[in-house]
């Protein structure tokens, strides 16, 4: 094999794999129109989070003791909190924390879980039993409790939260990657690859992976929603990114103390969480229905 061939092949392969996955996803989107709604809302939230420094009307951690607990007004559209901070600005900045933790933790879980599932399913035998038993044990433990303990021990910071949430999300990805691997690994094209002397790594990552990628990605979107919910829950318990950084769960925690007279403190961040999580669920749920082979031909 020439040198040019060895560098061009991975690129060409990557392009083919992305195109195939992309086609499958676009088809899935068109089968289930609600997915588009979910995607658009989610992208809008991402854009708002990215543009937060430009569009936020106030500084998110700037305190103003003369404007404490103001209700919604022309100056503060969503009111101010107990320190006189602008709620709208804090929600916009809080979106960044939620999205970063959600996307990175699930990206990691997806990567590690998929590799574990592929390897366990491909090699089978004792390795499979040990790996999947470990996953089942992790799965058996309530994820919020596991996250709670890990963050409590490591300390609440963005990397630690990402680690804790990723840890709880690895097992489901391992499971979803393993099942199709077992179903596909003995098909003719895999036999042919083996006969041609391809390495196991090449067979797994070039020939098996593209077949399971759409399913893993769809599950990823649902799990980003879960990760955002878990992050907010941990922040509500007091294990979120430390104040004064704005997080949605942390805002609700602070607002909860003044719930009797300042309902907007909890209402607006709650709504923000609900919109993002619902949009992601709409997106993932529609796509899942569309790519589920059992439902084929019924749409």
């Amino acid at each position: 094999m020439t040198h040019a061939n060895t560098t061009a092949a991975p690129r060409r392969y990557l392009r083919t794999m992305l195109r195939a996955t992309g086609t499958a996803l676009v088809k899935a989107f068109n089968t289930n129109k609600t997915s588009w709604v979910g995607l658009l809302v989610f992208l809008a939230v991402c854009a708002l989070a990215l543009l937060a420094p430009v569009i936020a009307p106030h500084d998110p951690i700037d305190q103003d003791v003369f404007q404490r607990l103001y209700g919604p007004s022309a100056e503060h559209w969503l009111g101010t909190d107990v320190f006189g901070r602008d709620i709208l600005s804090r929600i916009l900045y809080g979106a960044r924390i939620s999205l970063v933790i959600g996307l990175v933790s699930i990206g990691l879980a997806m990567l590690i879980g998929t590799v574990i599932g592929l390897v366990a399913g491909y090699y089978g035998g004792r390795l499979d039993i040990v790996m999947m038993q470990t996953m089942d044990v992790l799965l058996a433990f309530p994820s919020l409790i596991l996250g709670l303990i890990v963050v409590a021990m490591l300390g609440p910071s963005i990397p630690n939260l990402i680690f804790a949430i990723a840890l709880t999300a690895i097992p489901p990805f391992a499971r979803i990657a393993r099942a199709p691997t077992i179903a596909i690994k003995d098909r003719e094209f895999m036999e042919a690859g083996r006969a041609l002397g391809y390495s196991d790594r090449r067979l797994m990552f070039r020939h098996l992976l593209p077949n399971i990628l759409p399913e893993v990605l769809v599950m990823g979107s649902i799990w980003i929603a879960t990760a955002i919910r878990v992050e907010a829950s941990l922040a509500f318990i007091g294990l979120g990114v430390s104040p004064p950084t704005a997080t949605w769960g942390g805002m609700i925690r602070e607002g909860f103390e003044n719930i009797l007279d300042s309902t907007w403190l909890v209402l607006f961040p709650s709504l923000a969480i609900l919109i993002v999580v619902f949009a992601l669920n709409l997106l993932g749920d529609g796509l899942r229905d569309a790519i589920d082979p059992r439902l084929k031909g019924e749409q």
């Binding site: 038993q133 089942d136 044990v137 992790l138 799965l139 058996a140 433990f141 309530p142 994820s143 919020l144 409790i145 596991l146 709670l148 303990i149 890990v150 409590a152 021990m153 490591l154 300390g155 929603a225 919910r229 878990v230 907010a232 829950s233 509500f236 318990i237 007091g238 294990l239 769960g249 609700i252 909860f256 719930i259 009797l260 309902t263 909890v266 209402l267 709650s270 969480i273 609900l274 999580v277 619902f278 669920n281 709409l282 749920d285 059992r294």
Partner: protein, 313 residues
């Protein structure tokens, strides 16, 4: 049936053993030194050493592991670093309140979720189906503390129908139920959303089976087909999912107990976290493990009753 139960029991013991091992190592592998976590950065080296000795952390890992396992089996789960009372006593004190809450949520969740899921499947792609699907997806999107706060705002603060704080210790049955209502509704609605979706897809699968077509061809009334032929087959995935859902239910019950300020494991765990009561945290992880393994065992046994085929596989 008894050999089936014995086999499941064996699996449960193995899982219990592995999860307890995991709990043991999680607490020790994580970089934070428990003694340092308990005492804080300012503590003197002598104080840290003393606490390490008291917690048994100065012994070799294998000895610690042996003592931990022996302690779990004999009911000696250590003493709380805050109250000085045995951990197991503190846990058993509030456990009934949490069980009461989760069982009530389970009844509500199944009672609402299964009929809605079946209805949605039967009226597939009609208006009720769309509404139920959208509503259940919305229900799943609520973090438990957000829905709890909204319920509290509407029913306790605005309408004043329920107490803002739930004591969980009402004298009469009526008072207890009144106390339990809002937290149970909160957990139950989220659970119903979950069960609705599973019941719907399970029912759709059953409705496509040949025996349903045969039953229709025989002219059996549609309601009878649903009740006698479909429902029992729909139950298997539903029961599986209820078992799997337990982890989520436990997490949600923690959040619900915090919002409604209701005694239970949830408030115990948050208290232990705030006061860095490391012995209590470990004890709580043990009790959660026991609950999860026990419920999974019950789920497996329930299968045996619902589906006679399971016993022989």
């Amino acid at each position: 049936m008894s050999s089936y139960i014995l086999r499941r029991l064996g699996f449960a013991v193995i899982t219990l053993f592995s999860v307890l091992t995991l709990v043991f190592f999680i607490v020790r592998i994580l970089p934070g030194d428990p003694a340092l976590v308990v005492l804080g950065d300012q503590a003197s080296q002598a104080a840290i050493e003393a606490l390490r000795a008291r917690l048994g952390l100065d012994k070799p890992l294998i000895v610690q592991y042996g003592e931990f396992m022996a302690g779990v089996l004999t009911g000696d789960w250590g003493t709380s670093l805050v109250s000085g009372r045995p951990v197991i006593g503190e846990i058993l004190n509030v456990l009934p309140a949490t069980i009461e809450l989760t069982v009530a949520a389970l009844i509500l969740g199944a009672g609402i979720g299964i009929p809605l899921g079946v209805w949605s499947a039967v009226r597939r792609n009609a208006l009720p189906d769309y509404v139920i699907r959208l509503a259940s997806l919305l229900g799943l999107s609520f973090p438990a503390f957000v829905s709890a706060i909204l319920l509290l705002l509407v029913f306790s603060i605005s309408l004043n129908w329920f107490p803002v704080m739930s004591t969980g210790r009402g004298e009469t049955l009526g008072a207890r139920l009144h106390d339990l209502a809002l937290p149970a509704i909160n957990l139950g609605i989220i659970m119903a959303a979950f069960i609705t979706r599973v019941a719907r897809s399970a029912m759709l699968e059953v409705l496509g089976q040949d025996y349903v077509r045969t039953a229709k061809a025989k002219g059996i009334a549609f309601a009878t087909i649903i009740w006698r032929h479909c429902l029992r087959n729909t139950m298997i995935p539903v029961v599986t999912v209820i078992g799997l859902y337990l982890g989520v239910l436990i997490g949600n019950s923690v959040l619900t107990e915090i919002v409604f300020n209701r005694p239970g494991l949830g408030r115990l765990i948050v208290g232990a976290l705030n006061q860095r009561d490391y012995a209590m945290l470990q004890g709580l992880m043990v009790i959660y493990t026991l609950i999860v393994v026990l419920v999974n065992l019950l789920t497996d046994i329930t299968y045996g009753f619902i589906d006679p085929r399971v016993k022989y596989s």
